[in-house]
């Protein structure tokens, strides 16, 4: 009997000490952020891995201008792991002061923490409509990070050598014509195929689908988020586009991944058209400085009308501020975000260092260095941008339902009707 008592008391003691250790850790954290009087510590959770260096640089400059502020950055990147890591931070009681929100489902999830940003300078200068992606009941809870746009990225050089002027493509039929013209001269142009659509990547398929689902949702973020069904109103056109690129694509399409598509085929003039967005510009720049400047162009998709082409352009990420932190921390967080988007130095860095397409007004369009980013910005200002409908799909929908079903269609495992039906059902079920 005696040993058992000792055993139990040991366990008790050990677990007690653990609890104590945990709670003392917590109080330590609080002390750090509020107790030291003059220095305010702001924790920032970053998901944009590709611009980590630029962000650190920007923070260094900000810290040197504001000596009482210390900004700690945690960067977690890559697809699905980042949201889980953020969630883990919140569950473990180490909630960051500033963090990135993907879509309305994130806003809903963290709604009890999120600060109403409507009175912030950077919210007032945000381009009309860009705040919607992080608004609930008309109250904005996030500041757009940047604008990203996607559509058909083309190699203008190949188009011209084939005798097609990209600027004359103003309808669906002309697009098909252009594709066929290029295909007929494959040998002379030295290309493997016209398209290099990477159907291995679920997010590429998801983004592609957005062209056709955005108009169904009335091009409204909120409608897209609240909709509990997806009917493929523009499924016919989606099928036409799909058949078109599948016919003229680099094969096997199902195992064509991002890097082969972009870095090997497209960047080496071996494919004329890919479905991507302006985020490929830094990659292209790192391989060949002149490519993005001279050859890269973007073509819209003709969906709701045969003659009016649109691309998808809009903010994909939002900065959210945690209102549950100390007042001083919240104040400094707001100041930092405002500085980043509205001060002269901040603006300069956003465009020239980050190479972002700005999501705020008051930027000099000429300062956007690469033509495609400028084009994306122009599309948005002209109202020819569609929303990122794919960001409002139910969690896991694109990777678990849309992508596999779409691949089944491409691989001739099922008909288009079966694809539409299976995907619609999954959409309603997952919502």
């Amino acid at each position: 009997m005696k040993f058992r008592l000792v055993f139990i008391s040991f366990i008790m003691l050990a677990s007690m000490s653990l609890i104590v250790a945990c709670s003392s850790n917590e109080s330590g954290d609080n002390g750090e952020s509020s107790g030291q009087g003059d220095e305010v510590v702001v924790d920032l959770f970053n998901i944009k891995v590709e611009t980590t260096d630029q962000l650190n640089n920007l923070i260094d400059i900000y810290e040197s201008e504001n000596e009482n502020v210390k900004i700690n950055v945690t960067t977690v990147g890559g697809g699905q792991d980042a949201p889980s890591a953020l969630q883990a931070k919140f569950s473990s009681g180490e909630a960051p002061s500033i963090f990135l929100l993907g879509g309305l489902s994130d806003v809903e999830k963290y709604s009890e923490y999120l600060l109403d940003v409507s009175d912030m300078e950077s919210a007032k200068t945000a381009i009309d409509g860009t705040l919607e992606g992080a608004s609930m009941d008309g109250t904005p809870y996030g500041i757009p990070l940047n604008i990203e746009g996607y559509g058909w990225m083309i190699n203008k050089d190949i188009f011209e050598r084939a005798g097609v002027d990209p600027s004359t493509i103003d309808s669906y039929d002309k697009f098909v014509e252009a594709v066929e013209t290029i295909d007929s001269q494959k040998e002379e142009l030295g290309i493997d195929s016209v398209f290099a659509f990477s159907a291995k990547e679920d997010w590429v398929v998801s983004q592609f689908s957005s062209h056709f689902t955005a108009p169904e949702f009335g091009n409204d973020v909120k409608t897209a988020f609240e909709s509990d069904e997806l009917n493929f109103e523009y499924g016919e056109r989606m099928k036409e586009y799909t058949d078109l690129f599948n016919q003229y694509n680099y094969q096997p399409i199902l195992s064509l991944d991002y890097s082969t598509s972009v870095e090997e085929l497209f960047a080496n003039d071996r494919a004329a058209i890919i479905h991507q967005g302006n985020w490929i510009v830094p990659t292209l720049n790192s391989m060949d400085e002149s490519f993005a400047q001279e050859k890269l162009g973007i073509l819209p998709l003709f969906v709701s009308s045969d003659t009016e082409g649109k691309i998808v352009a809009g903010p994909s990420w939002y900065w959210g501020i945690n209102k549950e932190k100390d007042e001083a921390v919240v104040e400094e967080s707001k100041k930092f975000i405002d500085w980043m988007y509205t001060s002269d130095k901040g603006k300069e860095l956003i465009v020239e260092d980050f190479k972002y397409v700005p999501s705020h007004e008051g930027y000099d369009t000429d300062s956007i260095s690469d033509p495609v980013s400028a084009e994306v910005y122009q599309y948005l200002l002209d109202g020819k941008g569609k929303i990122w409908a794919n960001n409002q799909y139910p969690d896991g929908f694109f990777s678990e339902a849309l992508h596999p079903e779409f691949q089944k269609y491409l691989g001739e495992q099922q008909s288009w009707e079966e694809f539409e039906e299976a995907t619609s059902n999954a959409f309603s079920e997952m919502r």
């Binding site: 366990i11 094969q251 199902l254 678990e400 691989g411």
Partner: protein, 287 residues
Amino acid sequence: MNFKNRTYWLFLLPTLLALLLVLIIPFFQGVYYSFTEYDGFQVTSFVGFDNYIKLFSDDQFLYSLGFTAAFSAASVIGINVLGLSFALLVTQKLGKVSTLFRTIYFMPNLIGGIILGFIWQFVFLKAFTGIADVTGIEFFRGWLSDTETGFWGLVILFVWQMSGYIMVIYISFLNNVPKELLEAATIDGANKWQSFWKVKFPLIIPAFTVSLFLTLSNAFKVYDQNMALTNGGPFGSTEMATMNIYDTAFKVQDMGYAQSKAIVFLIIITLISVIQLYITRKKETEL
């Protein structure tokens, strides 16, 4: 040994505590979550056995279980045949060369699953296509782009990774086969083939117990190789059970349901391992 000895328990305590914290408590927590609707943030409702009922009509999950079973069968056979062959090869008296071969065969095991996955992805996608372009043999074209090549791709990768490790186990057992028995067999006129099947083989049955257990349970639990090589594609047809569970939890954010899948999966693995251990144990011969 006196089990009631106080120091005995004292020395055991750290391990017990660690096991309790990282294994036993989470396990019971997991069982609890499998009965709930849980998104990783908060438990929204208690649903009883609903998750388990739903699971039996989840085609993709059942498919992934079947796929995992087929994969395990193919790779267990492949690994053990290849591992044993390697072991027989390097236990021949070849001097320094055999040490070299041992090292080479074991090497793949030192590389992590993710990296292996990417290496083989390169081999299947780039090198194979290159071979096809040069030789015109269609067999090498389009690997990983359909279910069949995806399946065999995974098997090849896993066999390549594990057979060196299993080889080491067989080597140690082969070295323990008493020389005088082999000598006696030779004197009795047994050839190499006969002395392998009649003498060596029955004596290394215990190695099969260990090797089969290791390969079977590892094959069932494969995740990283799967993720890096095919990521379930095309159209989710090479998705293993572990990946299905992970995706349900972290992509669909349906943790409760994923947890119930994990529990079912755990029960299946346990059953298979226990049955396998029971059968091979019975076959072991005492010297």
